[in-house]
Every structure is written in structure tokens, then in C-alpha cells.
């Protein structure tokens, strides 16, 4: 089983996001970066499939040189190989661009695979676009937001989360799967893994090597403005006897919120 996992370097979920008034983007200086949380489930699932069925796990990231850090984390978790597809552009919030880059890399350099695993979305752009776009561009089946995955030979069954239920989806390999929290419990890196990953040289593919011109991968959705959310004003805070407080709360639910 040859499994490819696609991971992204994203700002820590604890980050405060500031707006850059002179651009159409956020302020990137001073942000702390992590491996996208949903991608961790994808890496873990790949490792589990490899451990039970044999095979190889290769992790890819589209991003700047700094993304090597998250690739090394994946190697330390147990991935066999890692590849950086170097894209120095700032975050553009466009799934099409990333999907095109991934597809070009796969078609030109890594054509043989059984499973492409992604996180269900990157925290940050919150697009949930790349897995489905890659699946369509390569003509593969897709199952997104997966909480349980079973692979038997060339057949797969995945349970994907929908409103208040799960869909049981059947498909054939090769296929694209995106992971949701709940799929598994990602392992920690071992100290030995971390030491070994440190010494690894990660191969780098550039957009020029892929023959992609900026025109071809120009975002299809243009950002014209970025804003902070409208501020919320704190309302009344009642710190008094509970019976009284609850009476006032019920009055609020009736008169203001009008939900009862």
C-alpha cells in the first residue's frame, strides 16, 4: 500500500489574528506555527494502515522552507519519506492553486499511489477545497470528513460525518480521503524518531521544476479585503442570588432573544 499524506503548516489555533491594514491579508509576523490539527489524523491513519497492511507512507507539503518543520514532525511520527513542494507565496486562500500544484507534482514525479490522505480542512483558510479538487482533477473517488476508514485490498469503506448522522460510503482505490477529528488518536513522536528526522534531508520540488507558471496557478477567487470580526459588546453580567438571576435570565430569553 503506497500512501501519500498532504499536510499544511498553519498558525497555532491559540493565535490572535491581526489584520494588516496595508494589504489584503493578516499579519504573519510573530505567529507560532503548527502541523494542521486535522492533518495529524491523516498521518496517523496512514501509519496505522501501513502497520496493519504493509507499505510506505510519504508526506507532502506545499509551502515555504519553514514547512520542513512539520514534515520532520511527520517523519518523527513514523512516515517513511517527506517531500516539500516549495511555494513561497503568502497564503492566498485559494484551494484551486494548491490543488493544481499537488496534481502537477503527482502526475510528473509521483504517479504511483493507492491512497491520498488529507485533513478535512486547514484551520486558517477554512476552505475544505483541496481534497475534492485533487480528486476531481485526477478522476478519483473522494470521501471527506471521515471518522472511520476500512481498507480491504482494493476496496474501501469510509464513514463520513453529516448533520446528525454518518454516511457509509463505498469506493475503490486509489482514492482521496479527508480526515475528521475522531478518526483516531494521533501518536506522539518518539525521541528516537525526532533525532532521526533531524538528520534527514528533505527533497524539494519547485514550481519551476513542475513547469507551473504563475498565470496557470493564479487564484480563482480574489481577496479584495480582510477585516476583523465586528466587535461584540459585553452585556449585563448578573452576580446575585441565583433565584433572582435566573428570573432575569428567563425574562431576557423572552423579551430580548425572543426564543421562548
Amino acid at each position: 500500500m503506497n500512501i501519500f499524506v498532504f499536510v499544511k503548516r498553519v498558525p497555532d489555533t491559540e493565535s490572535k489574528i491581526r489584520i494588516n491594514p496595508t494589504s489584503t491579508n493578516i499579519v504573519f509576523d510573530g505567529l507560532n506555527y503548527i502541523l494542521n490539527p486535522y492533518d495529524e489524523y491523516a498521518v496517523e491513519e496512514a501509519l496505522r494502515i501501513k502497520e496493519s497492511q504493509g507499505g510506505q507512507v510519504t508526506v507532502f507539503s506545499v509551502g515555504p522552507d519553514e514547512a520542513q518543520a512539520i514534515l520532520k514532525k511527520c517523519l518523527a511520527m513514523g512516515a517513511d519519506e517527506a517531500v516539500l513542494i516549495k511555494d513561497e507565496s503568502e497564503e492566498l486562500y485559494d484551494g484551486w492553486r494548491t490543488a493544481r500544484i499537488i496534481v502537477a507534482a503527482l502526475q510528473q514525479h509521483y504517479p504511483g499511489f493507492d491512497l491520498l490522505l488529507f485533513g478535512k480542512q486547514a484551520v486558517g483558510d477554512d476552505n475544505s477545497q483541496v481534497p475534492a479538487m485533487v480528486a476531481e482533477m485526477l478522476g478519483l473517488p473522494q470521501v471527506n470528513v471521515v471518522t472511520k476508514l476500512e481498507i480491504q485490498g482494493s476496496q474501501g469503506v469510509a464513514y463520513r460525518e453529516i448533520e446528525g448522522a454518518h454516511e457509509k460510503v463505498v469506493f475503490s482505490l486509489p482514492a482521496v480521503i479527508s480526515a475528521q477529528k475522531g478518526l483516531n488518536e494521533p501518536r506522539y513522536e518518539t525521541l528516537r524518531g525526532i533525532m532521526a528526522a533531524k538528520r534527514r534531508q528533505i527533497p524539494v520540488l519547485t514550481l519551476e521544476q513542475l513547469g507551473l507558471t504563475e498565470e496557470e496557478i493564479k487564484p480563482k477567487v480574489a481577496v479584495v479585503k480582510v477585516e476583523a470580526p465586528p466587535p461584540r459588546k459585553a452585556g449585563q453580567v448578573i452576580d446575585e442570588e441565583i433565584t433572582e438571576a435566573v428570573k432575569k435570565l428567563v425574562a431576557f430569553l423572552h423579551e430580548e432573544a425572543k426564543v421562548i
Binding site: P11, T13, E14, S15, K16, I17, I26, Y38, Y93, W96, A99, V123, D125, D126, N127, S128, Q129, P131, A132, M133, V134, A135, E136, G139, L140, P141, V145, T147, R160, I162, E163, G164, A165, H166, K168, V170, F171, K181, P219, K220, A222, V224, K225, A228, P229, R232, G235, V237, I238, I242, A245, V246, K247, L249, V250, L253, E256, A257, V259, I260
Partner: protein, 324 residues
Amino acid sequence: MILVFGEIRDGQLKKASLEALSTARRVGETSGLKVGAVIVGSLTEETKESFQRCGADIIYCLSHPLLGSYSSSGYSNALAQLVTEENPEALLLAATAMGRDLAPRLAARLRVGLASDCVRLELKEGVFEAVRPIFAGKAFLTVQASSSPFLATLRPNVFPVVEKASSSLEVEERKVDLDEDMVKERVEEIVRGEQEELDITEAEIVISGGRGMKGAENFQLLRELSALLPQSAIGASRSAVDAGWIDHQHQVGQTGKTVSPTLYMAFGISGAIQHLAGMSSSKYIVAVNKDPEAPIFKVADFGVVGDLFEVIPHLKEELKKFKS
């Protein structure tokens, strides 16, 4: 024409699809654009009436024996055929589980961009402009399509359903051209939990518990409260989910769901930045917390400083009294 995908679940048209249709009507009107609805499968009288009430001028029913159950590749192929035939200016889908799965595949097929999970949509001088949250709502992008048709998914519970019937309504059946290798995955079964639960993204009221709930068994208190409040669902903070007290489907925040209900009630939730991001677009926020300094009070419209284990029983009593 602005085309809207009508999502049918269990034979019922999703409310979020009517929100999208109402939005299409609103933005289309100013530019004299017609509004079309498209469904996969056969049209029930009820769905037809809903579409008409919200202003559809035409309904397209796409049919093929291979489209009996949902398939990402099958449905996107079918919709792409209609888009190619009808050349709409825009195609809107609800950002539901199905819409979020289908739209990016369709975008890639049509070689256009996609604005995901939008919370505002306007048509300004012939250009579609949408606002969408990033970082779960810590910032908002205004985006314009640089490709046509404009493709967007609209977040459920944000856009109002506006009843404004169209003067006439056409219904057109369209046969889809498909063969078996174009339908690459297939929903074999829909698996439900024991209790039929409303999803937090679709609920009018979300009642959430955090670390202050102290244990899985205490979420029963929230369920009892939920039984007294119509259209309510149970939410949770990440710490409650990570402690194993409740399933991840209920998690609100940056690694969970972003919700915009009319009322969000936070019990024993301090208000970490990741959580606030996921619920700050709620219309009203009520917080109950023992700690008067909890950050959740900074965003709450109504806060009660107190022990949730005292507040909830009282609240239940008062709600029962109020009902009778």
C-alpha cells in the same frame, strides 16, 4: 440566471437550500437575473411549493438511475452538465456536509474558483462579492470571483428565508449523461445514532457545556434543558470533547464547528480564543460561569455568575412555569 442547488435529505428539502434560494432572489432581482433551482431526483409537491414560495422561476430535475443515492463524483458530474447547458452567472449551494463535499469537486470540474462558507453575498455592478470567515471567524475576507460562473457555498442559519413567490414557475426534467465509471463512490447507508439529534450548525439554540460540566453524566442536565427549548442542540467546548465526555460532532470552535444560532448558551465554558471564534457570530450569547473574570463574559449579552449545577435546575423550573 442564478442557480441554486436544492439539497434533499430523507425526502425533505433542506432549509439551508431555501436560505440560498432567498439570497439568490435578493441579489438577482437588482440585476434582473432569473432564479433557478436544481435537484437530483424527482420533485415532490412539497419541495416544489417551497421553491415557489421563495421565488424560483424554474426548477431543473436531474435524473439518472445511477444517482439514486448521493455520490460526490456523480452529483458533480450531473450539475456540471446543467451548468454547461444553461450557463448561469452563479451557482449557490448550502455549506452543509453535502454542499461542502460537492462544491469543490464541481469547481474543479468547471475550472472555476469557489468561495466557501460565505456569510454575506452581494452582486455589485455585475460582480459577485462574498464575505467569508477565516480562522473560524477570527477574521473575514471579502472575495470576488475571477472566473465564471461564480460558485459559492453559503453557511446555514445565516441568510434569512424570505417568502416572495415568483409569478410563474416552470419545471424541466433533464436526463443526465452518465456511465458507471463516472460514479466513483456511493453512499450505501446512512447510519444514525440511537437518538435523533439536531446538528448544532442547524439549530436555533445551542446549549453548550465545557470543563465546568465536570463529567459526561452531567451533560444529561443540558439535554433536559434542551427538551424545554424548541429547535435546540447540545454543543461542547474542546476540553469537554477531549475529556471524552461527549462526541466530537458537538464541538464548537476552531477544531470543531462554527455556529451562528439565534441563542448560544455557554455553561461552564471559560471562553478560550478558539471557542469564541466558533460562536461569536451567534445572535445572542448567554453565559453561566462561576468565575466572574471568565473571558466568555466579555462576549455574552447576558451573563450569570454562579454554579451551573444550581442555575440549571432553577432555569428548568422557571422555563416550565413560563410554558404553563
